[in-house]
Symmetry: C2
Subunit: 235 residues, 2 copies
């Protein structure tokens, strides 16, 4: 049925409604590996699922995705972006459901403790996933592509880092995202040339003997950079 002007109201009544769900691909970085947060489905079987929920009558899609993320992790102000709507008629065998997938980038350190115990949630390497519910594996795969694409064009990697981090830590993140090994000289030159990082006086202890300087993101400049990209770039 095409929607057009004659008999508009009548057309609304003839339509089939569907359930609308939201599923979040929550990505985090533990210092070595890019990980996705999954919750256990069913008690016995080894099936895992993305964190998801239903769209409520008074919410926008973004609000619903934020709410669901909050209920699981207790986090707000998280990087969260709509990924894609999935609508295969049989994707959910129980009822036809259209799912709008979001992807979230979180600072694992932030989270850790706060993970709601109500859901059996666990971090999995994105390169080694258990069997996933419905089309959730497609969602994860698409989110990795999106992350790779975006990280190549925008300084988005900081979203996965804790407040303070070292350049070698950040390089490990990019190595994990692209499953490669960047040259550390070129990497640090490129990252520092953005002017988005502030060098702190403090050095990381315990990991290496020399210790690496901590940096933090210059939030004002970072916001500016994001905004000036957004004006040009897809959403």
């Amino acid at each position: 049925m095409i929607r057009t002007h004659p008999h508009m109201l009548a057309q609304y009544k003839q339509q089939h409604p569907y359930l609308v769900a939201l599923d979040s691909i929550i990505l985090g970085f533990d210092g070595e590996t890019l990980r996705v947060l999954l919750v256990k489905r069913g008690v016995e079987e080894e099936t895992w699922s993305l964190m998801g929920g239903w769209l409520q009558p008074d919410e926008t899609l973004d609000q619903a995705a934020n709410r669901i993320l909050y209920e699981l992790t207790g986090l707000t102000n998280v990087y969260l972006e709509q990924l894609h709507a999935f609508g295969d008629p049989h994707r959910d065998p129980i009822t036809r459901t259209v799912s709008v997938a979001y992807f979230a980038l979180i600072k694992v350190a932030d989270d850790e403790s706060r993970l709601s115990d109500a859901y059996q949630a666990q971090w999995f390497s994105v390169y080694d996933l258990p069997p996933l519910l419905f089309d959730h594996a497609d969602m994860v795969e698409l989110s990795i592509k999106r992350l790779r694409y975006k990280a190549a064009h925008q300084p988005i990697g900081f979203e996965l880092m804790p407040e303070k981090f070292t350049i070698p830590q950040l390089k490990k993140l990019y190595d994990a995202i692209y499953n490669t090994d960047f040259d550390k000289r070129n990497f640090s030159r490129k990252i520092l040339s953005t002017g988005l990082l502030i060098k702190l006086d403090e050095k990381q202890k315990g990991y290496s003997k020399k210790g690496a300087f901590y940096y933090q993101v210059d939030k004002a400049k970072y916001q500016q950079a994001i905004e000036s990209l957004l004006s040009f770039i897809a959403n």
Copy 2:
């Protein structure tokens, strides 16, 4: 409500279903200006709308978007890509509707004649739009951003060109997309360096005195190029 394992079936029953619509931002290029195809809403008022329709029970989202595009234009095999899901609770004042917006790039020459008369459809400059229904203006705006972004990274502009076209015509398209004026020497070097164009023996007549050579896309190489990008790039 968060969706998780206990009492799954009961949870499905408590949920509110919504209508799911599809709206297509159909972009075309008439040789001078980037245009979007709109249909008239209401008989008297000057309100226009994107071409849209409802999701049917047996369709995927992509299928529904293709169907709706076909019903209006008679075209198949059109470049059509999911843009974004719009779900503000009040976006459609009659019934809560989640709309999945798609954007389509069509070759205006192809179309022209075939535009279904059942809908009063008209091309508008994307830089000079009439009042639009609901949030359709947001959708158009986002689609332009997406087009700009994608066209900068992929050889997507050909989708808006007729089978045969000249380099100056193609330059005009890119000028229109970015609302600027590219250097013709750099432009033609860059386009030709992709190796995706085949020079024909034929010259365009009537427009300029000298006449410009026609080119066509090397479809095999074009497919290859798109696919090798897709493997790396967001969706």
